[in-house]
């Protein structure tokens, strides 16, 4: 698939995106709301056959962002999907692990550090925090007090 065909194919899901941006030939930025997140990931992974690189979560104080990074290796194009979770009190999103098993550990890590719930995750257990770390303390959240003794 040529770079133009890739953009054309991405245009078919434009209705579920909130933003579509191509700043460079090999960088495409997509944004979506958390409800459409799973469908778009499914499209990128199964229809487009893009390679899942990693996901990252950011606490933006009013909302959470999850960035899914995909690479389309045929043309070397990197696709970044930015998924907004508007509910800061109770952040929830559909897990992509049933679709992409490689995402299991990064979702567990995001759950540990940012407290994002991943629905339908097959094994949501603690991954990187200490065994005696208290429940409900998420150290990478912006409002977490770093002076606190744990």
């Amino acid at each position: 698939m040529s770079p133009d065909e890739l953009v054309e194919k991405l245009n078919t899901i434009k209705s579920s995106l909130t933003q579509f941006e191509q700043l460079l030939n090999n960088r495409i930025y997509l944004s979506c709301e958390s409800e459409n997140c799973f469908e778009i990931n499914k499209f990128l992974f199964q229809e487009l056959k893009a390679r899942f690189v990693i996901a990252t979560a950011i606490d933006c104080e009013q909302y959470f962002e999850i960035l899914y990074h995909y690479s389309y290796d045929q043309t070397g194009c990197v696709i970044n999907l930015k998924c907004f979770i508007r509910d800061h009190e109770n952040p929830q999103v559909e897990s992509i692990t049933p679709l992409i098993p490689a995402a299991e550990w990064i979702e567990r890590e995001m759950h540990d550090l940012e407290g994002i719930e991943f629905n339908n995750h097959p094994c949501m257990e603690r991954l990187i925090l200490a065994d005696d770390w208290p429940e409900g303390e998420y150290p990478l959240r912006k409002d977490w007090n770093h002076e606190k003794e744990i």
């Binding site: 925090l129 200490a130 005696d132 150290p139 977490w144 770093h146 744990i150």
Partner: protein
């Protein structure tokens, strides 16, 4: 001289404890044992269990998960036991000082259970193998 100290200085067996290091110091510790630096010619040899060790080479800030393990390794080591804090993190937590998971540095954790522990510091990020050899020689001469 105490015969225990005499035998320790003759051939200190070391056990390597990683308490949350980034692996950089660990690579340099292994480097010490390779033919170029070859600390084995001074009788320093790496052993697989703290029960066989006269010295602990501790690398890394002590994380909340690793602290009980470090205490356990120290308690199992034969006394007198020299604790070497290898690297900036082990000596004083370094750049990870405000990290949420940091409970160290090494001397704080060791002194909680044994106030008279012998602790040697080898700073550096990572310390050169020459620095580690120098640290070991200086410590053994000071005993």
């Amino acid at each position: 001289m105490n015969w225990k100290i005499w035998s320790l200085k003759k051939s200190p067996w070391v056990f390597h404890v990683n308490t949350g290091a980034c692996n950089n110091c660990d690579i340099e510790v292994v480097n010490c044992l390779t033919p170029k630096f070859d600390v084995e010619r001074f009788g320093v040899t790496l052993v697989g269990s703290p029960r066989h060790a006269d010295a602990l080479l501790v690398t890394g800030v002590v994380t909340a998960q690793a602290a009980p393990r470090l205490i356990q390794a120290y308690q199992q080591a034969t006394k007198p036991c020299v604790v070497f804090s290898i690297g900036a993190c082990a000596c004083g937590t370094g750049i990870f000082h405000t990290g949420y998971h940091v409970v160290g540095p090494v001397d704080k954790i060791i002194k909680e259970i044994d106030p008279n522990a012998i602790i040697a510091y080898v700073p550096g990020c990572p310390p050169k193998p020459e620095a580690m050899i120098s640290g070991i020689v200086k410590t053994l001469n000071a005993l």
